[in-house]
Structures are given as structure tokens and as C-alpha cells.
């Protein structure tokens, strides 16, 4: 009986080891190394796959940056890529396997927020430091997840940037059109709240089904409210339907897209693949982080782009390259704490001086604090641009 149990245990352990080996792609197993795992839906459906590819590519480039600059307190940095297919259940099972095989020191979550929702409790339980691109309701709350930092700016920061744009253009009445995705709903309600508080009149906030094939009805409703401009949240084909709808109505209204709009391939390619140079695009401007707009003088960003290109094509805009900055942040935190323990690094990341010292590329200063683990005061890092050709993740 004991022999049978031992044999069964042995077979199980071997199988577990084999499954673990097959679950990740990359380096690992070096005991002295600082071990990073990046989760991304590389084989997910739709344009999410391209976004995941860019996020993973950015993480790999960030690791290269770290290794070329002395590693994390002298330790070499290794990275494993886990394709979670954008599915929370897959992400959970693969992450558990990865932790059982070789517990990572850092996990980079490339979104969507459903994956973050499922994996954050596991990371918390295992005391693993993490950076997250897909924010959830509680992901930036240090009381709930003390070791997690949302690295992408929330809707509040992006909307704060709109106010300056409205003042500059003299828009006083704004309509909001957003999708019924989790992000779209958060964006829509946050935009309405913040703009109303700042004295901007929100004439109407209208939601659309992200699977809808026509937006004429929603746009007619907005048109009837006579706004000076329309804030648009749209990702993929819905942006095309909105532009077609505006063209059909003959409605001459400025459209101001959010970062979802600038992440859509249509805004980065000339016709017929995209909308650059078409009459529909004339009324559209979109919000991008400065890193997504080509600037020969932005050395750190251009270095990040060069490093990312070594890992393959940058399929989406640099909006999705936030994982790159996770490594410089960890390097600065580890240097300050003289430790790679997750709790020590998290505490260091709440220190403004450490954040200032970090050689980040996408945001100058992330503004994490002991009260909130998401970027603060980064609205100045955004600008509004017309659609233009996207090359190497940057609008030209």
C-alpha cells in the first residue's frame, strides 16, 4: 500500500512538474535571480491579443533595461510569460502552477480587470509584489491589497486632463458616449461626476452595447441635447460605427476620444485600413499619454521603444506599455530598501523620493502613496492629438 502511495505521489509530482514546465515561456529557476512573471492574454479573442502582446513586450523590454543597468540590487532579472488567454480561470490555474514551481518575486498583470480581480487575492495570499494594468474597484487600495500597485492611470486622472482642453477650446456643454464594458461604465460615470463638479454642464450621458452594430440612435439622442463637444469612449469597431453615425447625421460636433479610442487600430492607419485622412476623422481628437506621441527629444521613451522592438513588433500603441516602468520602479525601491522582500519594496514605492529617483519612461512620477496605490497627478502626462499613422507604438 505504502509503495503504491509513494509511486502515485511520484507520478503526481512528475506530472505537476511537467505541467509547470509547459505553462510558461521564458527563463526561471535561477535561485539568485529576481524572478518576474508577466500575465497576458496573448491568445485571447479580438484586439485584446494585440494589446496583451504590447504589454508583454513592454515587460520583457523592462527586464532588459533592468539587467543592462545592474539588475535589482545586483540580482539578474528573469522573466516568465504566462498566456492567460484573457480568461480569469486560466490565469488563476496557471498562476498557481507558476507559484508552486518557482514563486515569483514580482507579477505583472496585463489586464483585463477580470483577470486582476481573480489573481490579486492569490498574489496577496502568497505575499507577492504586483503591478496591474487592469484596475478593479479595490486593486489600488493598500488596505485590501498592500502589495499591489495599479500602474495605469485611472479614469479620474485621464478626465482631469480633459478640463484643461475644454477651457482652451471654450467648451461649456459636454455629452458623454461610452460602452457598457466595465471600464466604459467607470469612465462614463467618473467623467460625469468630475466634470459636473468642475462646473462643466454634462448635457447627457449615453451608454451603448459594445456588441452593437449601429450607433445612430445613441447619436441622435446626444445631438438632441445640443452639446459643444462629445467625449467618446470606444474601442475597436464601435469607434467606426460612431464615426459613421456622426457622418450619416451630418452632425458637425467635435469628438474627444479617450485612451480606448487611441488604442484602436483605426485611429493609427490611413484608409482603407484606418480612418487617418478621412472626412470622418476630421472632427476627432483623442487622448494619448505623451509616450504614445513620437517625440525625438523624449530619450527615455525612445529607449523603451527600441528595447521593445527587439522583442518583436509593437502591435498596439504605447498606451499599453506601462509594464516597462514596473522594473525601474522596483529597481529604485529595492535600492532604497536594500531588500527584495515584497513588503519592503511596497513600502519604498510609497516614498516620493524613491519614485522621483526611478528611471521611468512613460510617467515621470507615479505618485503612489500609503493611501492609494495608483498613479496620482499624472494628468499633465496626457495630450490630445488628431488621428495619425501609428508606427512602433507611437503616433507620428
Amino acid at each position: 500500500m505504502r509503495l503504491r502511495m509513494t509511486a502515485a505521489t511520484g507520478v503526481f509530482a512528475l506530472a505537476a512538474a511537467m505541467v509547470g514546465c509547459g505553462s510558461a515561456d521564458g527563463a526561471g529557476g535561477d535561485d539568485d535571480a529576481y524572478h518576474v512573471v508577466v500575465l497576458g492574454g496573448l491568445s485571447s479573442e479580438g484586439i485584446l491579443a494585440d494589446n496583451a502582446s504590447t504589454s508583454v513586450n513592454a515587460a520583457q523590454a523592462g527586464v532588459d533595461f533592468a539587467n543592462d543597468n545592474g539588475g535589482v540590487v545586483g540580482r539578474k532579472v528573469t522573466i516568465d510569460v504566462i498566456d492567460d488567454t484573457g480568461d480569469p480561470t486560466v490565469a488563476v490555474s496557471k498562476l498557481r502552477e507558476a507559484i508552486a514551481e518557482n514563486k515569483p518575486d514580482l507579477v505583472l498583470n496585463s489586464g483585463p480587470s477580470t483577470v486582476a480581480e481573480a489573481t490579486l487575492p492569490i498574489l496577496n495570499q502568497n505575499q507577492i509584489l504586483s503591478f496591474n494594468i487592469g484596475p478593479t474597484v479595490n486593486s489600488s487600495d493598500p488596505k485590501k491589497f498592500p502589495l499591489n500597485f495599479d500602474i495605469a492611470a485611472g479614469a479620474d486622472q485621464q478626465i482631469a486632463a480633459y478640463q484643461d482642453h475644454f477651457e482652451e477650446k471654450g467648451y461649456g456643454k459636454i455629452a458623454i458616449l461610452h460602452g457598457n464594458s466595465a471600464y466604459g461604465e467607470t469612465f462614463g460615470s467618473t467623467a460625469e461626476d468630475l466634470l459636473t463638479k468642475s462646473g462643466v454642464e454634462v448635457t447627457v450621458r449615453e451608454e451603448y452595447d459594445v456588441a452593437a452594430l449601429d450607433m445612430t440612435s445613441q447619436l441622435q439622442k446626444l445631438e438632441a441635447s445640443e452639446p459643444d463637444a462629445v467625449i467618446v469612449d470606444a474601442y475597436g469597431a464601435p469607434l467606426g460605427y460612431i464615426l459613421k453615425g456622426v457622418g450619416k447625421l451630418g452632425w458637425d460636433v467635435p469628438l474627444i476620444g479617450n485612451t480606448s479610442v487611441s488604442s484602436t487600430s483605426l485611429t493609427g492607419a490611413a484608409a482603407p485600413e484606418g480612418i487617418v485622412g478621412t472626412p470622418e476623422a476630421k472632427s476627432l481628437v483623442m487622448q494619448v499619454p505623451s509616450a504614445a506621441k513620437r517625440d525625438p527629444a523624449a530619450k527615455a521613451v525612445n529607449e523603451a521603444v527600441e528595447r521593445m522592438l527587439k522583442h518583436g513588433e509593437i502591435k498596439s500603441s504605447m498606451v499599453l506599455a506601462m509594464n516597462y516602468d514596473a522594473l525601474p520602479l522596483v529597481m529604485a525601491a529595492a535600492e532604497s530598501a536594500d531588500s527584495i522582500e515584497a513588503a519592503d519594496l511596497a513600502k519604498a514605492l510609497e516614498n516620493p523620493k524613491v519614485l522621483e529617483r526611478a528611471s521611468t519612461a512613460l510617467y515621470d512620477d507615479y505618485g503612489f502613496s500609503s493611501d492609494v496605490h495608483k498613479p496620482q497627478d499624472v494628468s499633465r502626462e496626457y495630450q490630445f492629438i488628431a488621428p495619425s499613422v501609428l508606427k512602433d507604438g507611437q503616433f507620428q
Binding site: E45, G46, I47, L48, A49, D50, N180, E206, E207, Y208, D209, A211, A212, L213, D214, T216, S217, Q218, Q220, K221, G236, A237, G240, K244, G247, K248, L249, G250, T264, S265, L266, A271, P272, E273, G274, I275
Partner: protein
């Protein structure tokens, strides 16, 4: 009127999907879950042929119809023909739909692709509303397809044989109808239709890998409202769904669009369980 045109155009797309479902249903008493995906392939082929190969629209229609008919024939041979129980065909055609989704994503990527329309992409004012030429064309196409198929089914031997199969497959077989060949033919015809229609749906919806999934469910709702097996029913059902969606979004809010459509479905099924255009006949055993 702009709202009406938009609703009718969308309804025409739903109706054209439902017509494809019906062609297969009439011949095999089962559903081809991959019908909307076949239409999506037609839209992608239209993009490639019009934009990359610079072919003319008539040639593109022929290419799309032939290729998608081939895909449908392959589906029938691999996923339908070997299956004895019609209930299992629901699963195998669903598998075919997933395979087509994956193939399309690998071949054309996951980004929306703009498909040009032969009559231009500028909106026009028509009968008191604003409408794109492709939207008017889709409404006309849906009517023409339904009328033509209805006439064919009632006035040709092939059509009558199909109706006989739908009525009683064994009796039709005893009367000399080659039911296996007819079932195969129905799949191919549904493929030809999907390929042809895809060329004109693409300019309205973009060629995008999620198009099949977006259209599949609405196609079934249209079928249930109009009546399984009724071609005029698909046209009326499609236009009802399209108009209901457009009006619900405009006057109630987009969150009520699906609710309104499914309330209509429930009301129709309560009043006429077989759909608007199919009469329930009692059989004495």
C-alpha cells in the same frame, strides 16, 4: 426617418442571417450555428478582394460566393453528414463556428477592417432621413432574397422537394427525393448566400472577427419571431427586431434594447408558439 432607415438596415442584416438558418432548417430540420460566421468570412474575403486585389464588385461577389460555398460544403461533409442525431449537429456546427472564428482571427487579425461599398460611402438624404447607400442596398437585398427564395421553393421541383423533406423526410425519400444530396445542396446554397451577403454586410459593420458572434444570436431571435421554416417570417422578424432595437435605444436607452427585443419574442411566442408565419397543425395519431 433616419432612425427608421437605420433600424431597417440592421434588421435586414439580421433577416439575411436568419434566411441562411432557414435554408438549412428546411432541408435538415437542424440549425447551422456557423451561418453567421460564414457571412463573416464573406465580409473578410470582400475586404481582401476589393482592397488588396483591387477586383471589381461582381468578381468579388463570385469569389466570395464560391469560397464560402466551399467552406459550407466542407462543414457539411465533416461536421454534419457523419452525425446521425440532429441534436448533436447543434454541437458540431457550433464547433465549426468556433473554428471559423479562430481561422479568421489568424488570417485577418483582430482589428476591424473597412470594406468599401461600390456605390460610395457618403450618406445621402432619402425619403426624409439620412442613410448610407449600403443601408438602402441591404434592405432591398433582404427583400429580393426572401421573395426569390420563396418563389423558388414553391415553383421549382427542387424547392418542392425541399419542402417535402421538411414535411416528412422519409416520405420524400420514398417518393424518390435524394435527401442526402438535397441536404448537402442546401448547405452549399446557404454558403453561396452567406458569401454574397457578406460582401455587402462588411461595408456596414466592418469585417471584424467578432461579427459572427454578434449576429448569430439575433439571427435566432428573428427566426423564432418569424417562425422556423418561414422565409417571409425571417424578413418580417428581422425588420421588427431592427426597428425595435433602434427605437428602444433612442427613446428608452441602450440598456433596454435587448430587453425590448426579448419582450417582443416572448409576446410572439405566447401568442403564436411557432412564430408569426408558421401555423401549428394538430395531428391525429
Amino acid at each position: 426617418m433616419t432612425l427608421i432607415w437605420g433600424g431597417l438596415a440592421l434588421g435586414a442584416v439580421y433577416a439575411l442571417v436568419a434566411v441562411g438558418y432557414n435554408i438549412v432548417y428546411i432541408s435538415s430540420k437542424t440549425f447551422n450555428f456557423a451561418q453567421a460566421q460564414l457571412m463573416m468570412v464573406g465580409a473578410f474575403l470582400a475586404y481582401t478582394a476589393l482592397v488588396s486585389w483591387n477586383l471589381t464588385t461582381p468578381v468579388v461577389v463570385l469569389v466570395a460566393a464560391a469560397v464560402v460555398a466551399g467552406v459550407a460544403a466542407l462543414e457539411q461533409v465533416v461536421a454534419v453528414n457523419p452525425v446521425r442525431d440532429p441534436h448533436n449537429i447543434l454541437v458540431t456546427t457550433l464547433g465549426a463556428a468556433i473554428l471559423i472564428d479562430g481561422f479568421v482571427q489568424l488570417q485577418w487579425g483582430s482589428q476591424p477592417l473597412a470594406v468599401p461599398f461600390f456605390a460610395g460611402d457618403d450618406a445621402v438624404t432619402f425619403a426624409g432621413g439620412r442613410v448610407y447607400p449600403v443601408e438602402l442596398f441591404l434592405i432591398i437585398l433582404a427583400v429580393v432574397v426572401v421573395v426569390a427564395l420563396t418563389l423558388l421553393s414553391r415553383r421549382t421541383m427542387t424547392g418542392l422537394a425541399l419542402l417535402a423533406m421538411a414535411e416528412d423526410r422519409e416520405a420524400a425519400q420514398l417518393r424518390g427525393v435524394n435527401v442526402r444530396l438535397m441536404a448537402f445542396g442546401a448547405f452549399v446554397v446557404a454558403g453561396v448566400l452567406a458569401g454574397t451577403v457578406g460582401v455587402f454586410v462588411g461595408p456596414k459593420t466592418y469585417a471584424i472577427s467578432t461579427l459572427g458572434a454578434s449576429l448569430a444570436l439575433k439571427g435566432f431571435v428573428v427566426l423564432a419571431i418569424g417562425g422556423f421554416g418561414s422565409l417571409p417570417g425571417t424578413l418580417v422578424g428581422g425588420l421588427i427586431v431592427g426597428l425595435a432595437e433602434a427605437c428602444a435605444v433612442r427613446y428608452l436607452g441602450s440598456e433596454y434594447a435587448h430587453l425590448t427585443v426579448f419582450l417582443i419574442l416572448v409576446a410572439v411566442l405566447l401568442a403564436r408558439p411557432s412564430g408569426l408565419f408558421v401555423r401549428v397543425r394538430e395531428r391525429v395519431v
